[in-house]
């Protein structure tokens, strides 16, 4: 075992080095110009559930140029804790580019010399307090009352996210997408685009996602939300004039953070190291292992720019998802006739490939849809689909240009 283990560790260290290269990047990266954040406004949006939201605003950004025919647009849809910042930098000295900078840019697999790539913040985006994010959700001011909505904000779903994106595209004169590409909750949106608006979508790339929330995921999402409701500061969602439920939100984000990763990452990054050298975790409840301290620090940083109610609305949007409203998965996928590229991740504990990818691929094939499936490998589980998608860069490039 010692030798195999060493080989395994070496492989993982290489993989982690690749993650760092992806997320930290180099100065010769991606989109050549600086990225400008824009805001799209709708005076009113009618939800699938029949409610009206006034004054909807969402942030968006783009890389590359829309051609005269307006037929070279690729929409990037973001994950649960993500934003529209998929590529490039806002300022030359930004520490990091957007999350998929490895695959979006000049001469990259999603080639901005050829395509007009755009990405928007969803409704109820988690990162309400992040400076470059614009979203509309329970933390927004209800124009009717002048107060934040809280839980009076209408429940929205993945289709609502898509419908607002559709309105954004229409405002730009785009009535057809060369492709929709998204990871995790972004894959749900990409699938919903293909299944719900097949006449507008030429290709779908769904990374680490699925065509429905299965029962196991519905259960996990319930558990992700639970710490927020336990925090007394949450106060039934009415906390905007008092202290925020930061402790609960932090624990919720710890759950997301850990479940989106996998044991090879944890074992090789932390082992059983103590958080503080002379503070043995066996000696006190105030002493922690390094992995615990890292989780708390990572989640605290995310909580500082996030909103707890938005988290609950995102949980609901994901739980209620089934492609095109179902009622069965086969029904929901029927409209999805354009070519589909599915990129599940090895070791994914959120969208298990055998459950979320294989049955969908077989259903699509059975109805004559062209499906390509490739696994994204790495030590990160679910997040392999963000960090290591570049390993399938050639496949993505071919899929988008064939």
């Amino acid at each position: 075992m010692a030798i195999d283990k060493a080989g395994h560790r070496a492989g993982i260290l290489l993989a982690i080095a690749a993650v760092l290269a992806t997320t930290v990047g180099s100065r010769s990266e991606a989109y050549d110009g600086l990225v400008e954040k824009k805001v799209f406004s709708m005076p009113a949006y009618s939800t699938v559930g029949g409610e009206t939201i006034k004054n909807v605003q969402i942030g968006w950004e783009s890389y590359g140029q829309l051609n005269e025919a307006k037929d070279n647009a690729i929409l990037i849809t973001h994950f649960f804790s993500g934003t529209s910042h998929a590529a490039g930098r806002y300022r030359a000295d930004d520490a990091r580019p957007g999350y998929w900078d490895a695959i979006i840019g000049a001469d990259k697999p999603i080639d901005t010399d050829r395509f007009f790539v755009l990405s928007s913040d969803t409704l109820v985006n988690l990162n309400v307090h992040a400076p470059m994010v614009t979203t509309t959700g329970p933390a927004s001011i209800d124009p009717t009352t002048g107060e934040p909505y809280g839980l009076d904000f209408p429940i929205v779903g993945i289709r609502d996210f898509v419908n607002v994106q559709k309105a954004l595209l229409e405002s730009l004169g785009i009535d057809r997408l060369h492709a929709v590409v998204g990871a995790s909750m972004g894959a749900l949106q990409a699938i919903e685009w293909g299944a719900g608006y097949p006449d507008m979508v030429d290709r779908v790339v769904a990374v680490i996602g699925g065509a429905e929330a299965d029962a196991f995921l519905i259960g996990w999402l319930n558990l992700w939300a639970a710490p927020i409701r336990l925090d007394p500061n949450w106060n039934g969602g009415d906390y905007y004039d008092g202290p925020a439920p930061t402790a609960g939100l932090t624990e919720a984000l710890k759950l997301v953070t850990l479940q989106a990763r996998a044991w090879p990452w944890a074992v090789d990054t932390f082992g059983r190291t103590w958080a503080v050298e002379d503070r043995n975790p066996a000696a006190s409840f105030d002493n922690y292992y390094e992995v615990e301290a890292w989780l708390t620090a990572a989640a605290s940083a995310r909580a500082a720019v996030s909103d707890a109610n938005h988290f609950l609305y995102l949980v609901k949007a994901n739980q209620t998802f089934i492609a095109n409203g179902g009622p069965t998965l086969a029904d929901g996928l029927r409209g999805m006739t354009m070519p589909v590229l599915l990129l599940p991740a090895v070791g994914d504990l959120i969208f298990f490939p055998e459950l979320a990818t294989a049955p969908m691929a077989e259903m699509l094939e059975a109805q004559g849809t062209a499906v390509t499936v490739a696994d994204v490998d790495g030590p990160l589980g679910h997040l392999n689909g963000i960090a290591f998608t570049g390993a399938h860069g050639d496949l993505i490039r071919r899929f988008l240009t064939e």
Copy 2:
């Protein structure tokens, strides 16, 4: 996929039927007589951490007869949320027998016609308020103050659980175990017995466990504990004269309950069914899916007999575990020279077989220890190791009698 899926579903339904048969049992089961709960007392116990606990009491039970040579004893060690009730019934009309009744009893794989099988409640057992459980932990009265210990109770580890079991065995005149057999946290105890007291243990059967808490598990255990600390009733562990932190404990138990299972169970048991027929989860935050309602009901029932501080002490005991204190796994396992049977579970999300079983097996083999490994299959993930161990009944029988 439709056909494969149907076949898969049929397999799962058969497997679930087998679980029901195992856990509900028939009247012709197991141990022939009724089981008597007994209590073992120690005036004082000194922990590995150097603290003294006065008046330690733990419950225990046994099946079969101790022979004159006192060399036919098999110790069963229980899992995180378990008790000493491994087999048989306390009363003829008990709804269920002990959890491993399928493999412990007259002419069963752990044959009570041949072996004296005994099992004890651990220190800090979770089920403080269950009528047949006796344990000593933070909910116990500190003889020095006359009040419950709360967080003043000393931190204990798996080795402390083992040491109290050792004192129980010595009180019975048993100085050698034919085998130690345990699942999950029970496997940790079985491994600790073999690694720590090799001269007393002839065989180890470790089901769905590992020889250390790895970094990923340490992180998950931190998350399991978090809801309790968020519940304002927890009050730093000082709640015994007020309302208990039941909401937090329930959420903690929901996490344990779901992570100990797996997607095939969830998908085939619940699908996307709503908890209440006319209450669409997309319409309200008060409407749930059936899997959510089931999790809440199951965890609430467990919370009613459990104690939140005991949960936190169990989390700590599991996080700090490495066989025989390590410091490395190879060091810790060095004493483990008796034959070892390892039964990991397919789809286990707590002790991943590739991490928890394969490296341990290779380390043991490398030092000349006889190791047998067999996978426990089923739709339940981790809990396959409780529900479906009987599928390896012949293997267990042979291992115990060769």
